[in-house]
Symmetry: C2
Subunit: 371 residues, 2 copies
């Protein structure tokens, strides 16, 4: 697939997300190969695609299981996987009820960072007579969730290892603060944060099977932390402007594009397309928040300056128009979104383009689920 | 309804959007009363609620018709309304096909700003043997879409009035640049921009029936522009932080709230809730972009500092904790979103709370439609 607009039927709806099957497959295989090479288990986060079809491809390529954020997503993904990690403190009565119900059918683990959460889950698991796997979420520098100190983490693990209906599987963390190619000191801090907890657990005779890291930007450097034996990247399956700007992939590795139509040309050098914040999301570029709301393929200097709900305003400077004419009203363009996970979550469906350029409509199965 | 958490069942799913029927009804009636008083037609923009049920309430209250942005939304809303304005340049083969098909059944008008758009629509309308209403979108200061000069607007109107299958209904504009309580000069500019075009049309013997303005922030000041005879506000039905911060409504006028659960308390004065960018959207507050991602009810000084996809990180300063205790893990909170239109668009359903505090699940009928 070479993303030629000629292969897309004139009456294909826009704005719509088109996924290159071959690029997605290549991304899946390449991440699996990295993990295999470094003896890491790969547990892809399905938040990016929310697609059963894509999850099945990841499982077939060698994933050890799947990661999700919500109970509803876990339920959906249980149709293709029987070992699911909810890498999220699954609190709230409705969510806990569904997680424990699902655990009757498949292996379910939950990432938590508090004794309160442990008590909620133990009580619910006991009431249903099931056992839940637990990963203790430890803070390693991103400061989102996670037990903040080594001592607290050890204490929580100790508490968990005494619960009848919880099974302490190990540690998880999210190294969202580490940029690709970060210096050794940064990785050493990260490694030591996990090492100190693992040493403390060992001293207490508590062994754990899993130490799970995450994030696509750090994924292919995970061997720099010798304690990790599992990773949970999500975005790598499709990639996006964030990943390209971080230097972890090229434009050719972006498997997802939004097809848009030019609907207005109100000023010279300005076009308006039918992809706005309800299609692309308002997520800004992580590395450069003022760089605009996506990448306009074919017009490398163009900037998506402002989004309304259904309008994307694009300024195309003269330098781009030396290489390629200004599009006309009714013409179509490709946009690569800043953040593909939130873009996909806005869609009810995507179109998978196969090697023969056929477009197959597929549902975003797990989008918009409540818990 | 007084938004007491006690009336929400413990196992109600979170994050979820709850709409107060009584506040929404009050907002609908009050905007209709303003319009009736000033002899303005009200054509509510359904982008905010995307709900057939809510659109029907607006129609029953006296709306002259409905406004939508997409062809798919027009199709959905045609079940309760036979006079629909697509306030959007409906370009692209798929969209045009659906717009012209719908025009066989109900009165459909489209807002356009170019001769190219006119030609596309004329050709399609002629091929189907139907007639489309047209509003010429004129630029009055927001610089999104719209014909930029008075002369070009008159020329486009003249062209349209000669098309067999297009019926020039009038002018539309989006005064998104005008803040509530703007000085008279600003409104005078706005009035003169429309007046000059209308005078020019009169001189050519072209009369138009509709001059349509928009935007909730300016809605209740629309009488300050004597040419307007229709307005298209959308957000007023629910309101949000943007509207409160602009001073056009109070917190009590916000009909929509997101119910969230506290899932983590990783630091003192910090909680993490299950509403992130996939629930609230990343839309920042229009008046103060760095003020956080929504309003935490009961904790007026709290700030939603960062959103991940399913995490909302909230810092609650000590001053708020003098009045109300820090919530615990598993507790629930209300968040009023910055921008309710994009928040609703992320939901598959909302819960309507009636006067007896019953929660009725209702679909967001027109969300995520393709064209």
């Amino acid at each position: 697939m070479n993303w030629t607009l000629e292969t897309i039927p004139d009456d294909h709806p826009t704005p719509s997300v088109i996924i290159s099957e071959s690029i997605a497959e290549k991304n899946i295989r390449s991440m699996q190969a990295y993990c295999d090479q470094h003896r890491l288990k790969l547990r892809p986060h399905t938040k990016t695609h929310k697609s059963i079809w894509m999850a099945e491809r990841q499982m077939r390529a060698g994933a050890c299981g799947l990661t999700v954020a919500k109970a509803g997503e876990a339920e959906v993904m249980s149709s293709v996987c029987d070992d699911i990690l909810i890498a999220y403190p699954a609190m709230g009565a409705s969510r806990i009820a569904r997680v424990t119900e699902l655990a009757k059918r498949v292996r379910v683990s939950v990432g938590i960072d508090s004794r309160d959460a442990a008590e909620h889950l133990q009580n619910a698991a006991a009431a249903k007579g099931i056992c839940l796997g637990i990963l203790v979420d430890v803070e390693v520098g991103f400061h989102r969730t996670g037990v903040a100190s080594c001592e607290s983490a050890i204490r929580l693990c100790e508490y968990l290892s005494n619960q009848k209906n919880l099974y302490l599987r190990g540690l998880m963390c999210f190294p969202g603060h580490i940029l690709p190619g970060a210096p050794d000191e940064r990785w050493l801090e990260y490694e030591q944060a996990l090492g100190a907890i693992l040493d403390g657990l060992k001293a207490k005779g508590i062994s754990v099977e899993t130490v799970s890291g995450g994030s696509t930007p750090t994924a292919r450097e995970s061997h720099r932390n010798r304690y990790l034996n599992e990773i949970r990247p999500g975005t790598y399956v499709y990639n996006d402007v964030n990943e390209v700007r971080l230097g972890v992939c090229d434009w050719d590795d972006c498997a997802a594009r939004v097809l848009v139509t030019v609907v207005s040309m109100p000023e010279s050098n300005k076009i308006v397309v039918d992809g706005g914040s309800k299609t692309l999301s308002s997520d800004r570029n992580a590395a450069n928040p003022d760089a605009g709301f996506g990448f306009v393929v074919g017009y490398p200097s163009a900037k998506i300056t402002r989004l309304s709900e259904e309008h994307g305003e694009i300024h195309i400077p003269d330098i781009d128009l030396e290489a390629k004419a200004l599009p006309k009203i009714g013409d179509r363009l490709w946009i690569i979104p800043n953040h593909i996970c939130v873009c996909i979550n806005l869609q009810n469906q995507f179109y998978l383009q196969d090697s023969e350029n056929r477009l197959v409509e597929m549902p975003v199965n797990a989008r918009g689920l409540l818990v």
